[in-house]
């Protein structure tokens, strides 16, 4: 009886709740409809004044006929019009002057004498006044045709002299500003070859480091040997860009292993579609409780290339958890692969699939469950992630993890974000000449920070969804967290491009810019710059 009664209450409550949800918009709108003021009666309409008749229209005077038209005097013929002077003058020259044949003596026919070779103007590296001797030679050198070499006539001119040839590398870096160009004062160096190697000091883009290089280059400028050291200084200070691109070579694996939100959407969907879940059988309390793992071996049927690719993704996803062995088993498999020359071959892989149908003691699976659902695990992971990837300072000391190349690359969506950010911000700087190198650095750093924040928030949302599903449904469905996290990440990406998001982004960028200025001018900043070779 009690059961029946409680069911009624349940039913009534559910109906009431669903009705409320369905009528939510109208209810919430109705909430704000307030009664207006009552209509107060106005004054009675009083009759106006009667329309008085107007004046009659009196007929005017009749129109009187005008005078008759009198024909005027007849047209008399005048003097015969003279045809004027003949258009063609009577004298012979009336045909106009012939264009005389262009005498061959006209200077036009003279062979065009090539002017002086355009000697390259003194570029920004003209500041190499310290190397003045060489610079002067370059300018006056009749072989200035070398200006073609990068348009730096000054250096081009010196190149045939051998010793300065090394500085020929400078024009390449000419755009980089005075920094690298000057550092190659190796131009003076008899060891021209060394000077050219110093051209590799790409980082000159950073004005701060440029100044440093400049001083190095000019000081030893007069001394050939000093030039060599200038070159050395260029390679000894690898920039952030150099570090990044060097790290790119080593992080192919990372690029593959960090899926972006698209990949997460797909992976989560595939695992849910395959029915991958872990259900609490509630056979006992505590860790003796039995857990059942469900899920198909493959996400999609078929052996085509797309099906194979999807199933491999599913397999990789299953294997991506730290404690996956308790719920996933590996099985050898082979996949048909089309080689670059068009031939087919088979490649062996370990294909992972759920330990489906197994009833496992909870204590064996607890590690996996904690990884996916524990609040503590969520908080710890998020905190560690933020500390490692987002906070440059840890207890007022430089957080070296933050500046590790791999860590930097792991922020946001990994390498893709870094490359995109650099490209995007460079274009932004190119479009706005007011933006300086510090703005560029601040922009890229802001992108990295926002990417890290986006990843952290979406990961938190995903983990939260996983926990809530497990609590409410009684099954751990890892794919839910993955998809929900990716969905939040997608929304955040759009949000950051909305007007509000852009405002937030600009504020973050201004704070970062201030931070960079502070880093450049403080003791602590020296430590940080040291990490980047600054």
């Amino acid at each position: 009886m009690k059961r029946k009664h409680s069911r009624k209450i349940f039913a009534i409550f559910m109906i009431a709740f669903l009705l409320f949800w369905s009528a939510l918009p109208s209810i919430s709108m109705a909430f704000f409809i307030t009664p207006g003021k009552p209509i107060t009666p106005g004054q009675a309409i009083t009759g106006g004044q009667p329309i008085t008749g107007g004046q009659f229209i009196l007929p005017g005077d009749p129109i009187q006929g005008g005078e008759a038209y009198n024909a005027g005097p007849g047209l008399k013929g005048g003097n015969t019009s003279s045809s004027g002077q003949p258009i063609v003058p009577p004298y012979q020259n009336s045909n106009g002057q012939f264009i005389p044949a262009i005498p061959s003596s006209l200077p036009i026919n003279k062979p065009i004498t090539a002017g002086d070779a355009i000697t390259g103007g003194q570029g920004p590296s003209g500041g190499q006044g310290a190397n003045g001797g060489n610079a002067t030679e370059g300018g006056t050198n009749p072989t200035g045709g070398n200006a073609i070499n990068g348009g730096d006539g000054q250096t081009g001119g010196t190149s045939p002299t051998g010793g300065d040839g090394s500085s020929g590398g400078n024009p390449v870096n000419g755009g980089e500003g005075p920094s690298t160009g000057e550092s190659l004062t190796g131009g003076d160096s008899p060891n021209g070859g060394d000077g050219s190697t110093s051209g590799g000091s790409l980082p000159a883009g950073d004005p701060s480091s440029g100044n440093v290089n400049n001083s190095n280059g000019t000081t030893p400028g007069g001394d050939g040997t000093g030039g060599g050291t200038g070159a050395g200084s260029g390679t000894a200070n690898p920039s952030f860009a150099q570090q990044t691109f060097t790290a790119l070579k080593d992080t192919k694996k990372m690029f593959v292993s960090i899926p972006n939100y698209l990949g997460q959407m797909l992976d989560g969907g595939l695992s849910v579609m395959a029915g991958f879940k872990i259900t609490d059988l509630k056979t006992a309390s505590g860790k003796r409780n039995l857990i059942q793992v469900d899920g198909r071996a493959t996400a999609v049927k078929g052996s085509g290339s797309i099906s194979t690719w999807l199933n491999m993704r599913y397999s990789d996803y299953l294997n991506s958890f730290e404690n996956s062995k308790s719920v996933v088993r590996g099985k050898g498999g082979s996949v048909a692969v089309i080689n670059s020359d068009g031939t087919k071959s088979t490649r062996n892989y370990a294909i992972f699939q759920p330990r489906s149908g197994s009833k496992i003691k909870q204590k064996h699976v607890q590690g996996f469950i904690n990884e996916v659902t524990s609040f503590k695990s969520v908080w710890t992971k998020t905190k560690d992630y933020m500390k490692k990837n987002w906070i440059p300072l840890d207890k007022w000391k430089v957080n070296k993890d933050f500046f590790k190349a791999k860590s930097v690359l792991a922020k946001g969506n990994g390498i893709a974000n870094i490359v995109l950010s650099v490209g995007s911000r460079l274009a932004e700087n190119a479009a706005d000449p007011k933006r300086t190198g510090t703005d560029l650095a601040a922009g890229i750093t802001t992108d990295v920070l926002l990417g890290a924040g986006q990843t952290a928030i979406s990961a938190g949302a995903g983990w939260g969804a996983s926990v809530l599903t497990a609590a409410a449904v009684g099954s751990v469905v890892p794919g839910v967290g993955t998809i929900v996290g990716a969905g939040v990440g997608l929304g955040l990406a759009l949000f950051m491009s909305s007007n509000t998001g852009k405002t937030i982004s600009r504020k973050v960028e201004s704070v970062v810019k201030s931070g960079i200025e502070w880093v450049k001018n403080s003791k602590l900043g020296k430590g940080i710059r040291g990490l980047f070779g600054g």
Partner: protein
């Protein structure tokens, strides 16, 4: 699983906060939707308290489960707000979009009553044709919305204008919201009815 259902229920109120961020700030138009967002939170809180008061001790975990479901549905609902807000002045269309969202919830229950549901089908089932299409929907939306990469979205917006985020992004989020509603409702329905977590 060792998860305290009541703590989970309280924690579940965080989930709609994530998407309320989009609902409040996207797009930048002034509407009364912020009051609707608040109303949803209030309804969920009040319903939780009311159910805890009404339900007997043995069934109180069900109150917590229901609140988690409501919060997850609110999480999905707020995904739809950017588009609905963008259509300010077109009340009929806004209502249709609202109704469609709730239709998705109903469809999820209908789908779970089928032999082979779209979400978490039983292992022994042979599967349904075109099931994959359902899971491709969010991937497609993610592609259209710039892949979730905010730098790409920013560049597209610089090129195409703010309308991209408002309308294209809004449509993607709306579809995603409806998809999440279907997906989560299916999951919870299956858990409540088939996994035996619902205390009888």
């Amino acid at each position: 699983m060792g998860i305290n259902i009541y703590k989970a229920a309280i924690g579940s109120f965080i989930m709609p906060v994530f998407t309320a961020l989009f609902a409040i700030f996207m797009p930048d138009v002034h509407t009364s939707f912020n009051y609707i967002i608040m109303a949803v939170f209030v309804v969920n809180i009040v319903s939780f308290l009311a159910m805890l008061a009404i339900f007997k001790k043995k069934k109180r975990p069900n109150a917590a489960r229901l609140v988690i479901l409501f919060n997850m549905l609110a999480f999905s609902l707020f995904f739809t707000f950017p588009l609905i807000k963008a259509l300010i002045g077109q009340t009929f269309l806004q209502l249709i979009l609202f109704i469609l969202f709730f239709v998705c919830i109903g469809l999820a229950i209908y789908d779970q009553k089928q032999e082979v549901p779209l979400v978490l089908p039983p292992k022994e089932s042979k599967g349904r044709k075109f099931v994959f299409v359902f899971y491709v929907i969010p991937v497609l939306m993610a592609i259209i919305a710039g892949g979730g990469n905010f730098i790409i979205v920013r560049e597209i917006t610089n090129f195409l204008g703010q309308g991209y985020v408002t309308y294209v992004g809004g449509v993607c989020l709306y579809v995603l919201g409806c998809w999440f509603a279907f997906f989560l409702q299916s999951l919870f329905y299956q858990g409540f009815t088939k996994n035996g977590v619902w205390v009888k």
